[in-house]
Symmetry: C2
Subunit: 391 residues, 2 copies
């Protein structure tokens, strides 16, 4: 195993998606991730379903390559052990409920003072301060607050993106902030305190829409499979019962689409459709024209013709289509990971540099590593009550 | 200005969203980003619209804090200058069309050999190799191929998430991979070659759905504003014409919702709704019950009662709601950035450590820095034809 984070130890006081994905990516790059879980129950994602031969689909996705230590942080002995772990950890990541860290005596400012080389990541829904900082935050709630759902779906029918963007985006901002802090620590020797709010993450992702509304004053309408910015662009049923997605992103592409794909030079020359703003206004008419053309051809015929005309195109896949995607198979993106119920397939993570070996991964049973970690890290006998004085 | 990337120089051969957001975040942390653009046209996003006092909404969002050098990389003098820049750069990021780097004589393997400390990021739609690696890739096309759209929307009505997840996710994986490579370079002195495929990024984000289909065999259906995993959960109109989003994520929360919020202990005790799997099956009936209750109360009443009952809740905002969001305002998330048309508001980036000063930012006019960069970096007189021999 050789990754850029070999030798880095991460403590994860985590649940659900945002922190677990962040620390999984740290593990992917070679970090040792110790997931601290509540004895008996553990991360709530363990219990979402029993899809993966008895394990939960989300949990398997997010937790391979980690160790699990079942610790009761309200009990003095385990609280002690956590501080033993903190003495030797490089990073702590938490996304517990608002106030939970403070109630455990693990306030970020105290941690920063006590462990000056530690990188402390405090993930929350709404950040510290402000009228909403006490509120529970789940992916859907944050996406709703941040306007992501009202620009998704159809007019009058907002929809939550199926991919949990708020959680995943937060994971990735936490992950990158940790990497930046590790880079800085190499040169300064200092750790960092990194607060990350899910609301801020989705707000960042809405940057284009914010500019449109702040300066344009018009609330964007969702357009289903289309793009609010360009037209024609969308999903069109094909003669063989599949769905093709295609469209244009520029006036030049539009002229190619009209001339070389639809064989309609009259459309290319039509001043009603000359510029993108014109075509956005005439979206419905243009979708109709493209739709009729696609309905008369098979997906393969359409994709071949669109490729030849230099028009971007894709197949609308369900999840099974992604499982079977030829591009993932041909490029060796699948490998097996270990779980308590045997090996299961998982994708390699994106963004690996050539030469980085990705950690093989293992999905830990709840508390699988508690004893080993206790033996390795504990500096005091169990039940030592004095947690204030550490060597 | 003090950020962890002070002193790092980034060359961006970029367009659209994925690479520009990646390099903007590098600039946010203090890196010097030199955006290399085609003379005359520049990044196509410059021309999407004229919403921000004549500038494009996307371009302003993605490009503050960068310099712009308008270089014709097919002309020997500018090609020379690019190599002068590469001699002193730490990172190069590109998301040009498939094959474009090779055609410019900038193949990643050659670059890696010539500049061993350079971190080279090669963003593509489908990766190198495989049957689709030649295909154009835009956000919608990749999301369609990766199944993201069919788990969004309503049954039979797939929708593209309004937030361009494929582009943004790719930006964030590129960004984090660069940071990991910078960290590794501190210790090894070696650069890195980092290929990133948008398809792999969205496939990673679909990890839960992949597990569901691989092991469960059932294609997930989109459920609008709900969650396919838990119920009841969704968006419900309120008596004052707004929309509240709320629901439960566990059996315990369900009992609280039924008892403390709806005042329906009979529901909490009803064995038909005891477990999450039961409630998912009875989603429609439960949505009806919650919907009737919400329709009789104002948003404020509902949110206050839900907070008191410990039930997560949110307001369904449009984009204007995000612009005016009290939580962003109260926490000072807005600041002004400079543009060629004067200062405009922009959000601070997520994930800043305490003590990191974010770069003030400036949106560059096309080629605004060409002359200064030529003067600073050029090692040879313009029109020097020999690009093979560098000191």
């Amino acid at each position: 195993m050789s990754g850029p984070l070999d030798g880095i130890t991460v403590l994860a006081l985590e649940q659900a998606i945002a922190a677990p994905l962040c620390t999984r990516h740290l593990a992917d790059l070679g970090a040792r991730v110790i997931k601290v879980e509540q004895p008996g129950t553990g991360d709530s994602t363990r219990h979402y379903d029993r899809t993966v031969r008895g394990l939960a689909a989300h949990f398997v996705w997010l937790n391979h390559g980690k160790q699990s230590a079942a610790l009761d942080l309200t009990a003095p002995a385990d609280h002690d052990l956590l501080h033993d772990l903190l003495e030797r950890a490089d990073v702590i990541v938490s996304n517990l409920a608002p106030g939970a860290l403070d109630r455990l005596g693990l306030g970020v400012d105290d941690l920063a003072q006590r462990y000056p080389r530690l990188i402390i990541v405090d993930i929350s829904g709404y950040g510290r301060g402000g009228p909403l900082d006490h509120k529970r935050a789940y992916d859907l709630l944050i996406q709703a607050e941040a306007g992501s759902c009202t620009i998704t779906g159809l007019p009058g029918q907002p929809a939550k993106p199926g991919i949990p963007i708020a959680d995943i985006g937060t994971a990735l901002y936490a992950y990158s902030a940790i990497l930046a802090a590790l880079y800085e620590r190499e040169r300064t020797g200092r750790g960092a305190v990194i607060p990350i709010a899910m609301l801020d993450v989705v707000a960042e992702m809405m940057g284009f829409a914010l500019n449109q509304v702040i300066h344009g004053g018009v609330e964007p309408e969702p357009v289903g499979m289309g793009s609010p910015m360009v037209a024609p662009y969308g999903a069109y049923p094909t003669a063989d019962g599949l769905t093709v997605v295609l469209g244009t992103t520029s006036d030049r592409e539009w002229r190619r689409l009209a001339t070389d794909l639809l064989h309609r030079p009259d459309l290319a020359a039509d001043p009603r459709y000359a510029h993108n703003a014109d075509r956005v206004r005439e979206r419905t008419a243009l979708d109709e024209i493209v739709g009729v053309w696609c309905a008369q051809r098979t997906l393969a015929e359409i994709q071949q013709a669109a490729d030849a005309a230099g028009i971007g195109n894709a197949r609308l896949n369900g999840v099974q289509g992604l499982v079977e995607h030829p591009q993932l198979a041909a490029r060796g993106r699948w490998r097996d990971i270990d779980t308590p119920v045997g090996p299961v397939p998982a994708l390699l993570p994106p963004g690996l540099a050539q030469g980085w070996t990705v950690a093989a991964g293992r999905v830990p049973a709840l508390g699988a590593d508690t004893d080993a970690i206790r033996t390795e890290f504990a500096s005091t006998a169990p039940n030592a009550a004095d947690i204030g004085v550490r060597p």
